[in-house]
Symmetry: C2
Subunit: 384 residues, 2 copies
C-alpha cells in the first residue's frame, strides 16, 4: 500500500486488500474458463462463482439466488429503479445515481433535516397510493449520517399491509444503497427490513467495477442489460468470476472485523474532531451527532475555500475531499450541503475526512496537526 500520503478519503475509494487480491488471483490466468462452458475446469469456475455468491448472500442474511451481480452501485441502483412503473420517493441528499434514476419516474423528494437525517415520518407523509419504491441510502456519503432504515421499513410495511387489506395489489418496496455502510453498520437485509439492497465492492477494499443488487424474491426486476441470460436473465454478460470472488472475500473481511474496526475508527475520528474543534471553535461539524458512520468527519471552516485547503493539504501529503467525489471535479456546490441548509460561506469551506484501513493512531494525529497548521495559515491569509 501507498504510505507516501495520509489518506483521509476512504469514502471516495479504497485500496484493494492484499487478501482480496490473493483470493482473486487464481481466476485471472489459471482458472480463467467461461463459467458457462461444459467441461470440468469450467464447472469448477462456475462453482467458485456460485460459492462466492453464496458467501455474499450469507453476509447479508439473504439467499444466493436473490443476488444480481453488477458492475457497481450505480448499475445496481439503475436496476432497482428499472422495473418500477409507479411513483418513487427519494430524499434530497441521495447520491446522484439515485436522483438521476428517480428523475425518469413520477417522484417526490423528501427533505432531510439539518443533520442530513431522513425521518420515517417524512417518508410516511410522502407515500401516495401509487408509490412503488422508496430509495434511501443507509448512510449519506458526504455527512456520514446513518438513516433510520428500520423505521422507514416499518412505515412501508404498514402501507403494504394496508394495501393488502383493501385488496390493492400495487407493490411498495424499500431500496437502500448500503455502499457507504458496509464494514460499519449491520447490513442484514431481514433486520433492516429492506426489499432491495445495493452493495459496492470498491468501497470496501474489494475490486472496483463490482457491485450487486439484492432483491427479495417477491420483487419483480426488469433487466437493464439483455443477452445470454446470465444472472437468471436479469443481467446478461459473462460472469465476473474474479471480481465476485474478490467481492465475497472483501465483504466477509468487512463483516468479520466490523465491530473491532468501528470502535477503532470512532476513537480516531472523535479524537481528530476534538483536536480540530479545539483549535477552531468556529468550525462546524455536520451530520448526525449520534447516528454517524464511525469513519466520517464532515467539518466546515466558515469563509475559507475548501478547494484551496485540499491543495494546501495535498502539498503536505494529506489527502482529503471537499465533498462527494462524483461531483467534486465539476466546480459545483454539493447538493447535499445545500439540502441541509448550510450557508454558502460555510458550505464552501467544508472538508470531508473519511477514515478507514489506512488510518492509524499516528497518521491521524499527524494529519490533525497538519490540518490545523494549514487552516490557521488560511485564516491568517484571508484576515489580512
Amino acid at each position: 500500500m501507498n504510505t507516501d500520503f495520509i489518506y483521509l478519503d476512504h469514502a471516495a475509494a479504497t485500496p484493494l486488500d492484499g487478501r482480496v487480491l490473493v483470493a482473486m488471483q487464481p481466476y485471472f490466468s489459471d482458472q480463467f474458463y467461461n463459467p458457462s462452458s461444459p467441461y470440468a475446469p469450467a464447472v469448477l469456475v462456475r462453482r467458485a462463482y456460485d460459492e462466492a455468491k453464496h458467501q455474499l448472500a450469507q453476509n447479508i442474511g439473504a439467499k444466493p439466488d436473490e443476488l444480481v451481480m453488477t458492475a457497481g452501485a450505480t448499475e445496481s441502483i439503475n436496476l432497482a429503479f428499472g422495473g418500477i412503473a409507479g411513483h418513487v420517493i427519494v430524499s434530497n441528499i441521495e447520491h446522484h445515481a439515485v436522483l438521476a434514476a428517480a428523475a425518469s419516474h413520477s417522484y417526490t423528494i423528501v427533505e432531510a433535516d439539518e443533520r442530513g437525517f431522513v425521518s420515517s415520518d417524512s417518508i410516511k407523509l410522502a407515500i401516495t397510493p401509487q408509490t412503488e419504491l422508496i430509495s434511501i441510502a443507509i448512510a449519506n456519503n458526504e455527512l456520514g449520517t446513518v438513516q433510520p432504515i428500520r423505521d422507514i421499513a416499518r412505515v412501508i410495511k404498514q402501507e403494504r399491509d394496508a394495501r393488502l387489506e383493501r385488496g390493492d395489489r400495487t407493490p411498495i418496496y424499500l431500496h437502500s444503497d448500503a455502499s457507504q455502510g458496509v464494514g460499519q453498520l449491520d447490513i442484514n437485509v431481514a433486520r433492516l427490513g429492506v426489499d432491495l439492497l445495493t452493495l459496492n465492492a470498491g468501497k470496501i477494499y474489494g475490486p472496483k467495477q463490482v457491485g450487486l443488487l439484492w432483491a427479495h424474491s417477491g420483487v419483480r426486476l426488469t433487466p437493464q442489460i439483455v443477452g445470454g441470460g446470465q444472472e437468471r436473465g436479469l443481467r446478461s454478460g459473462t460472469e465476473n468470476v474474479a471480481g465476485t470472488v474478490g467481492f465475497a472475500k472483501a465483504l466477509t473481511l468487512a463483516t468479520d472485523h466490523r465491530k473491532f474496526e468501528t470502535s477503532r475508527l470512532v476513537i480516531l475520528r472523535d479524537r481528530l474532531q476534538a483536536q480540530l474543534i479545539d483549535a477552531f471553535p468556529v468550525a462546524i461539524i455536520s451530520g448526525h451527532s449520534k447516528h454517524r458512520l464511525a469513519g466520517h468527519l464532515h467539518i466546515s471552516f466558515p469563509h475559507l475555500d475548501a478547494e484551496r485547503i485540499v491543495f494546501a493539504l495535498e502539498s503536505r501529503s494529506v489527502l482529503v475531499a471537499t465533498g462527494s467525489a462524483c461531483a467534486a471535479n465539476k466546480g459545483t456546490r454539493s447538493h447535499v450541503l445545500t439540502a441541509i441548509g448550510l450557508a454558502p460561506e460555510i458550505a464552501d469551506g467544508s472538508l470531508r475526512l473519511t477514515l478507514g484501513h489506512l488510518s492509524t493512531d499516528e497518521n491521524i494525529a499527524q494529519a490533525g496537526a497538519i490540518i490545523i497548521e494549514e487552516i490557521a495559515r488560511e485564516y491568517a491569509r484571508t484576515a489580512r
Copy 2:
C-alpha cells in the same frame, strides 16, 4: 498459465496475459484513488485512465472521447441499441445479446447463407425508410465466418446519401460487435466504415467484465446507466481504471502481434482440420472456407453426440466447445447451426475448436490425435 489441459476454446474465454496483469497491478492497491478526486495522486490516476482510453482509441483509429467504457460486450451492445427509436436489422446468426436487444425494436432478421455469411445484398433488401441501425458482428462466434462489413458499410452509406439527398434526416448506423475479431482482423473503424463498434477485453487476454462501445461523434447515444455523469454522461459509475489500463495493454498486444499470430494460427488450424478430415472424410466443416477467423474450426461428426465427445475429450485433458458458451449449458441446439441449415443429426455432433495463445505446434498435433481416437471410439460404439 494452466498447462494441465490442451485448451481449444479460446472463443469462450482467454487467460489474462501476464503483461496485462503487470500493467493493471499498480491500480489495485497503490494508485487506487478515485479518478474524480481533486488531489494530485488522483489526478495521476485520471491521467492513466485517459491515457488508456487514448491507446484504445488509437488501436481502432478513433478519438478517445468517442469511447464509452462498459462492463463488456453485452452492455456495449445494449448501449448501441438503447438510443434507437426506429427499425433495426440483424442477422439470424447474431449473438444472443444482439438478438435480445433487437427484440425491443421493430426489426428485420436477414438470413445468413449456409456458410454463415451475411451478404451486403441481403442487408440492402432489408433496409426500409425507417431503418436506423444495422448490427452485424465482424465474425460469427461459432463458425468464425468473417462478415463483409466494408460492403455492408457501403450499402448503408448509399442509403444515408440517398436520404440526405431527399432531405430525410432519419439517421442510419452500422454497429459491429468485433469481440471475436480482435487480434485476427483489421478493426480500424474508418477502414471498416462502421458507426459503432463493440469490443471486449475478456476475449483478448485482457480483464473480464471490461468492454467498450465506440460511437462516431455524430451518433446520439442514450445512457442506459445514469448517475454521476461519468463517460460524458453516457455511462455513470466510478471509472474502472485498472480494467481500462489492462484492456488498453491487451488491445495493443493483440494489434501488434496480429499478423504474426494470425499466420501462426492459420497454419495450426489448417493442419488440424486436414488431420481430422483425413481421418473422418464424413466430417463437415462449417463456416466460410475463405473468410474465416484464423483460429476457428467448426467441425461436425454426423450422428455423434457432441456433448459426449466434449466429456470424453475432457477426460483426455482436451477442452473443446459444442457451440457458443452462452447457450452451451442450456441443453438447446445452437440457433446459429439451425440458421445455416445444418440438419439436426449433423448439428448435434458439432465441435467448435478455437485456437489462440495457448495453442502450440505440439499441443495441437497432440489434440488432433486425441480427438481422432475419441471420435473413432464413438463411431465404433454407436455402430455396434
